[in-house]
C-alpha cells in the first residue's frame, strides 16, 4: 500500500492539460491544387479511392479528395511528381456529412493533357455552420455538459477501438470533459460507432440504435465508419459506412483517428467544439500551403474555459 502511494506521488499528474496541443507528423494529405497538373499518379496509388478524378468534358477535369475515405497511408504524398500534396498535420478533423469532408477542384485540360487549376467546386449539402446549428437545435438543453457514450463496433479491425480506449487513459482522460462510456445503449446519449458495418452486424447495430433514447446522436469513427474505407462499400460482407444503416450526426475520419480526434468528435457532438473538416471542407478554396508548416486551423472554442478541471 505504501509503495503504491509513494509511487503515485512520485509519478504526479500525467494528464495532458490541453489534449489538442500536439501535432502529428502526418494527419491528412493537403493538396495544393494550383500546383496540380492532373497526371493522376495520386489517384492510381490511393488504395481506397479517397482521390478520384473525373472528365466531365474533353477540356475539363476534376480531382476530388475525401477525408472520409482516406486511410492516411501517405502514398499520394510520395507519388506526386509535382510535390503538390503535402503531409497535413491537422488533428481534429470532424464534420457533419461526407460531403463536408470532400474537396473537389476543377481543371482546364489543354491539348497535351496537362491540367491547370480553375477553381474549387461547391459540393451539395449544408455548410458546417448550418449543420452545427441544426445539431445544436436537436440536442438543445438535453445533454448539458455531460455525455454518456455507448461504443458499438459494427465491424472494425479493432484499430479504432484501441484509440477509443486510449481516450480514457490517464493521458487523455476524457472523463474530465464529462464524457463517460456506459455499458448499455439504454444509458447512452451518443453511439460511437466504428465500421465498416458488416452484414452480420447490421441487425445488431439497428437494434442498438433503436434501444438508445433520443436524441441518440451518432458519431461515426474511422475511415471505415465514415465510408467503408479499405473494405469497400456494398460488398457481400461490408455494407460500408455507418450512415448506410443509421443516420450519422458527426463523422470522425482517420485510420484510425487519433484519440485527440475522437475526443474532438465527441465534443463536436456535444456542441462544445466547432467542427473542422480540414482545408476546403467543400466550401472554400484551400490557402496555398508550404510543406512542413501548414496551418489551416480555425479558432477553437476553448474547452478549458468552460470550467472543466484540468
Amino acid at each position: 500500500m505504501f509503495s503504491i502511494l509513494s509511487k503515485s506521488l512520485k509519478t504526479g499528474i500525467v494528464t495532458k492539460k490541453d489534449p489538442f496541443s500536439s501535432r502529428p507528423p502526418f494527419g491528412f494529405p493537403v493538396i495544393d491544387f494550383k500546383a496540380c497538373t492532373g497526371c493522376d499518379d495520386c489517384v492510381t496509388v490511393c488504395p481506397t479511392a479517397a482521390l478520384q478524378t473525373d472528365r466531365p468534358a474533353a477540356d475539363r477535369k476534376t480531382l476530388s479528395l475525401s477525408y472520409a475515405l482516406c486511410i492516411q497511408c501517405r502514398e499520394c504524398v510520395e507519388a506526386c511528381p509535382e510535390r503538390a500534396i503535402h503531409p497535413g498535420r491537422e488533428l481534429e478533423v470532424a464534420a457533419y456529412s461526407r460531403e463536408q469532408l470532400t474537396q473537389r477542384a476543377s481543371f482546364d485540360v489543354d491539348g497535351t493533357g496537362r491540367a491547370s487549376f480553375r477553381g474549387m467546386e461547391a459540393l451539395p449539402g449544408p455548410s458546417l455552420e448550418e449543420s452545427a446549428a441544426k445539431l445544436k437545435e436537436r440536442i438543445k438543453g438535453r445533454l448539458g455538459r455531460s455525455l454518456h457514450v455507448r461504443q458499438v463496433d459494427a465491424g472494425s479491425c479493432n484499430g479504432c477501438e484501441l484509440e477509443i480506449i486510449a481516450t480514457a487513459n490517464p493521458v487523455f482522460d476524457l472523463e474530465r470533459f464529462g464524457i463517460h462510456f456506459v455499458a448499455s445503449p439504454r444509458h447512452a446519449d451518443v453511439l460511437l460507432v466504428t465500421g465498416p458495418v458488416t452484414r452480420n452486424m447490421e441487425i445488431a447495430l439497428r437494434r442498438t440504435y433503436e434501444a438508445t433514447p433520443e436524441p441518440r446522436v451518432v458519431v461515426a469513427v474511422g475511415a471505415c465508419g465514415c465510408s467503408g474505407g479499405i473494405f469497400g462499400e456494398g460488398t457481400y460482407a461490408s455494407l460500408g459506412g455507418v450512415d448506410r444503416i443509421v443516420p450519422v450526426d458527426v463523422y470522425v475520419p482517420g485510420c484510425p483517428p487519433r484519440p485527440h480526434a475522437i475526443l474532438n468528435g465527441l465534443l463536436v457532438a456535444m456542441g462544445i467544439r466547432e467542427a473542422h473538416s480540414g482545408p476546403g471542407g467543400g466550401e472554400t478554396a484551400p490557402e496555398p500551403v508550404s510543406a512542413g508548416a501548414p496551418n489551416l486551423r480555425r479558432p477553437l472554442i476553448p474547452v478549458l474555459a468552460r470550467g472543466t478541471p484540468e
Binding site: 503515485s8 492516411q72 479491425c157 480506449i165 462510456f181 448499455s184 458488416t198 452484414r199 461490408s238
Partner: protein
Amino acid sequence: MTAARDVLRERLGLDRLAELRPGEFAAEVDLKQLPALADQAAGAGLRLATLFATDEGPTKGFAVHHLWAAREPPGFVRIWARVAADQARFPSLAARYPVANWFEREVMDYFGLVPEGHPNTFRVALHDDWPDGFWALRKAFADDQPVPRVPGNNPHPFRPVTGEGVFQVPVGPVHAGIIEPGHFRFGVAGEPVLYLQLRLFYVHKGIEKRFEKLPWRHGLFLAESISGDTAVGHALAYAHAIERLQGIEVPRRARYLRTVLLELERLYNHIADIGAIATDVAFTVPASRAQVLREGLVTIQERLFGSRLLRGTVALGGVKCELTLGRRKELLMHLDRLEPEFDDLIKLLIDSGTFTDRVDDTGILSNQAARDLGVVGMAGRASGLDLDLRRDQPHDAYAALRFQVPVEVGGDVRARLMVRAREVEQSLSILRQALQHLPEGQALAPLPDALPASSSALGWAEAWRGECLHWIQTDEEGRVARLKVTDPSFKNWPALGRAVPGNILPDFPVINKSFNLSYSGNDR
C-alpha cells in the same frame, strides 16, 4: 537445401515433395490419401498450421490444402489434393485432429465443399440468415452484391440446458466494454460455468475475397487492417508472401527495421494487456500505470514512424521508415526508462495477494488441450507449447539476434501474464540488439511491376499474439487468385471454450482478456 527436402520426403513417405523455395515444400496427392498423410505428418512431429481450399476455375474444380509446420528441419509443407467440381467433398481430419475443426467448416461455408466424416457439420462462419447455395470464396460468386437474408434459415445449435438452477447466459454481440462484437453463450449453475459456446464471425468483412479484387500493392493496406492491433504482423506476413513470390531479397537494414517494428508492436500490446488484466480484477493502480507506459510507447512510435499503431511503416520490399542515429538513441533512451517502470509494474502485481488470488489457477488451458487445438503463440507458450517462428523458422533479422522463448506450464491467467512479462524483457533485448547493430544501406528493394503468373508462396511472421500466415496464389495473368489469411486468433478461440468451464462467470472477462484474441482477425 535439398537435404531438408530429402529428410521430409523420407519422414512423410512422399517422394514427390518439391522444394518451392527455402523453407517451403509442396506435394500434390490424391484426395483419398490426405488422411493417411495427415497421420504420417503428425506422427513425424509436424503440426497442422492451416487448412484451406482454392477454386481452381470452372474446368479444374477445387483444391484442398493442408499446411504442416515442421520444426526440424524447419519448413512449411503444403500437401494438397484436387477436388472435382461435381464431387464437392473432401475427407475430414477434424475427428483425429481437432485443430482442423473450424478450418474445415469454414471451407464448407465459403466453398460449399463438404468435409466427410466431420463430427460437427454445422456452419461456423455463416450466420443463421445466410441462404443456402451462396459460396463467397468461389470464383463465380458475385461479391459486389448484397446476399439475401433468409431469417431462421439455419439456426445455430446452442446446447440445451436442463435441471434446477441451471440456466443460460447470452452475452453479445454488442458487449458492455469497448471491445469487438461476438456472442458468448454460457451454461451456468449459479456462478460456476458449465460450458461456453462461441458464436463469432460478426465482423466478417470479406477480407480474403477483397484481396482478390484489390491491386496487389494495395493489399498491403488491407493486410494492416486484418486486425488493427497486429498491423505490423500481418503487413509483414503479406510482404513476405509477395517478396517470396517475386524472389526479392529484402535489404539487411530493412530486415532489422522490420524486427524493430514487430517488437515494438509486441511491446505495446503486451503492456496494454497486462494493464487490462489488472483492470478486469479491479486493480486500478497498475492498470493506469500500464496505460501510461503504453501511451508513452505509441506516442514515440508516432514521432519516429509517423503512426501510433505503426501503420504504413512496412513496405513491399522493405520498410518505408527511416531511423537516424539521433532517433535511434531517442528510442533506446525511451526503452531504458521504460524497463524499470515495467519491472515495478510487474512487481506491484505479483506481490499483491489480492491480485494473484484472482489470476492463479484461473482459466487453465491444459497442455493436452492446447496441443490438440493447435493453439499458437503467447497463449500456447503459457500452456507449455514451445513454439515460436522467430526461432523455429526465423524471418527478418531474427536469425542474427539472440533471444529466449519464454515458456510457462501453468496454462492459467497468471501463466499468460508471465509469458507476456518475460516476452517484454526479451523484446527489449531484441530491440537493443537490432538498434545497436542496425546495418547501413538501403531500406527498400525495388519490386518488379507484376507478380509471377500461376504461382504461390507463403509468408509468415510471429506477431505478438502468435503466427500470422499469408498464403498467396496467382492466376495465369499474375493477378491474386487467392489469399488465405490465418490469424492466430482463429486457432486460439476454441481454446477459450476449454479454459472457461469450471470457473465462475465473473472470472470470464479476465480469462478472455488473458488470451486477448482478435475478433476481426478471426472473422476476416
